[in-house]
Amino acid sequence: MIPAFRCIVNPVPVASPARRLYLTPLVAAAVASAALLAQAPALPNRPGTLKFAAMGDNGTGDRAQYEMAEQMAKLHATFPFDLVIMLGDNMYGGQSPADYVRKFETPYAPLLNAGVKFQASIGNHDRPEQVNYRLYNMNGQRYYTYTRANIRFLALDSNLMDKKQLDWVESTLRDAREDWKIPYFHHPLYSNAERHGASVELRVLLEPLFVKYGVNVVFSGHDHVYERIKPQKGMYYFVSGSAGQLRKGNMAPTEETAASFDQDLSFMAIEVAGSEMFFQTISRTGRTVDAGVIHRQSKPGATMPEADRWSAVDAGAQESPAGRQ
């Protein structure tokens, strides 16, 4: 469950100057009291919107992963997302049937039982056979696409970015008629973590297509931290590779970094409402370490402002010097 005190400071997203007026101390206190009583989640949680979670590098099978999964289940109780996008390295070490139970089915059982659908992409620690695992919903494909509400998702295989896949990405994006185009894959095109950093090789191949066909947001994992990148060529990039693995203190923020967190595990909760996408990054202890709203680009490659950060994010981001903007 998300701690109540965070609900106090994040009663509503601040997407416009008018809304900011709510956050005068008195109004905020009033709203906070109501929010506390209602245990309202930090995201707008509007009916009819697409709600999903994003997590990467999760499948360790150890206690940390289980605690992270518990946070996801707690969030689900108040923010009923029905989709989880998996950003690769879904399983570390052994990948026997027993490992699938221990590293996936058991920790996420509350979500699976609630009908949440997981849509995986594969990372460098995954076995190729994962594409056939029923609960990853990859249907035997290394890369695939699906639509939810007004969003076109593309799950890519960044281990092997062959011409066939690139052609497929181009044709899929070209033909997509949805308002939002969201690719996700394991290796980040932008990252300022020290261990790996950006996969520039992939960026050179993929980014021109993303710009040309108006991709809005890109999610990746691989670096075991959380990082939100300032808009690059009109696109928002998130690195969320710490839902099971953590590289504490590994962030080396640069001017590209909008926000980051490297002190604990985290996952992302996202809500897409019309032309707005709200996001909230939640740590293993349930603290919000980053949150905000981004606005869909009006045209491909448009210059975009940084995400509107909500008026207050609780102490999570301040835990890490890297988390300060």
């Binding site: 570390y92 070490g93 990948q95 594969i122 460098n124 620690h125 995954d126 076995r127 190729p128 960044s158 281990n159 092997l160 970015m161 062959d162 011409k163 066939k164 896949q165 394991h186 290796h187 020290e194 261990r195 790996h196 950093g197 950006a198 996969s199 520039v200 090789e201 992939l202 960026r203 050179v204 191949l205």
Partner: protein, 416 residues
């Protein structure tokens, strides 16, 4: 590099011992004696081999620095020229490698007669299968099972670098032709394995086979008509062969490999990695004389295009290739030799088990061939980068081989 009297050099270009083109020179005074000793100890290689040893590493070193300092411009540049280098210009590199092999089948060559190659070919099976198995197990243990797809890379042996290291260790020794034959057979298996296992491309083998048959018929017809110019073979059979490989989804860089054997060659092998005489009139020698300089440029760009890996992409799985080749090659060779001996084949008398360990470590240097197989097998992405890093790390096999030779008292370190 072995020069010729026609070049004004003092070197003898007689065939030499074991077809290796190496002949001791007379001595005059202490300085000359020292120079002579140095030249005797440091093998003289053909211009082609020297370029292979200098320009390819130079290109690779620049690539490493560039990819790790300004990766975006590096990848933009190399992606733009990758096809021209890897699929077109490298045709001539592999053609020159094939020329060495074809000439080795002539009298005095290491492949003459063919049955001489039987044992190394049998041993090559062990020298490839064991590293491949070790690689698959190693990347599994290193928690990167995705990398298992790169096992054909562990087959590769860089003939020029291996030959150089072997000459440094063994000087003149039956181990050297044995090692060359082993390397040739291993590389042939590497290309075969990479062609069969092609995770990222669709193969159209029937179409390729039909067009390749036409290419071979053209080359055969030209040979029957007794044409002596290599241009006709290259532009006729070679072009069709390139199209066959390209359209079938295989590696067009190997286009001249099946064509080179049709070209008329010298009656006797001048030796492995020995320059062709400027006065030579046979098609193979003429081919070398024309293409050895363009191949210099090619090798530089090959290193530049294929060796630029980001060091921060290093993962535990990058150790897969070095572990596989450094552990697997010597073990595989020992097992295969034991099996061959049990089957009635015989090793050259001067080669013992300690020599085989050193041979195994020397054969573990895959470098140019391994980078090529990696590039041909895996598209851009994390897996190619990690395997490429592994190939570069595997270069440590060279000092390891020298160290093992010293520790085991092999070659120049033998205790008499």
């Amino acid at each position: 590099m072995a020069k010729h009297p026609a070049d004004g050099s003092d070197a003898d270009d007689s065939p030499g011992i074991e077809g290796l083109g190496v002949v001791p020179a007379p001595s005059h005074g202490p300085v000359r004696r020292r120079i002579r000793r140095w030249r005797y100890n440091v093998p003289r290689l053909s211009q082609f081999a020297v370029e292979h040893l200098l320009l390819l590493p130079l290109g690779a070193a620049i690539a490493l620095v560039w990819a790790n300092t300004d990766p975006e411009s590096y990848y933009r540049f190399t992606f733009a020229i990758a096809f021209a280098v890897n699929s077109v210009a490298m045709v001539f590199f592999f053609a020159l490698m094939t020329k060495e092999v074809v000439e080795a089948t002539a009298p005095n060559g290491v492949l003459h007669p063919w049955r001489r190659a039987l044992l190394p070919v049998v041993v090559a099976i062990g020298a490839t299968m064991v590293p491949a198995l070790v690689h698959v197990r190693a990347v599994e243990a290193l928690e990167e099972p995705m990398l298992a797809v790169g096992w054909p890379v562990t087959f590769a042996t860089d003939l020029a670098v291996t030959y150089f290291v072997a000459r440094v260790i063994f000087k003149i020794h039956p181990a050297i032709p044995f090692l060359l034959l082993l390397g040739i057979a291993s590389d042939a298996l590497a290309f075969l394995a990479a062609a069969v296992l092609h995770p990222a491309r669709d193969l159209n083998l029937p179409l390729g086979a039909m067009i390749m048959a036409a290419a071979l018929m053209v080359a055969y017809g030209v040979r029957r008509l007794r044409y002596r110019s290599f241009w006709i073979y290259m532009l006729g059979g070679g072009s069709i062969s390139w199209a066959a490989l390209y359209l079938s989804g295989l590696y067009p860089a190997l286009a001249l490999v099946p064509i080179m054997p049709f070209m008329p060659h010298a009656a006797r092998d001048p030796g492995f990695f020995v320059d062709a005489r400027p006065t030579a009139r046979d098609a193979l020698s003429q081919f070398e004389l024309v293409w050895k300089y363009p191949v210099q440029v090619t090798l530089f760009f090959f290193g530049l295009v294929n060796a630029g890996v980001r060091l921060n992409a290093f993962e535990a799985g990058s150790w897969g290739v070095p572990i596989a080749v450094i552990v697997g090659k010597p073990i595989g060779i020992l097992i295969a030799v034991a099996a061959a001996l049990a089957a009635g084949l015989r090793l050259p008398s001067a080669i013992g088990w300690r020599d085989l360990i050193v041979i195994g470590l020397t054969a573990a240097i895959g470098f140019s061939i391994a980078l090529f197989i990696n590039d041909a097998l895996l598209p851009p992405g994390q897996l190619r980068t990690e395997v490429g890093l592994g190939v570069l790390i595997s270069l440590v096999a060279a000092p390891l081989a020298v160290g093992a030779a010293w520790a085991l008292g092999v070659g120049r370190f033998a205790k008499h």
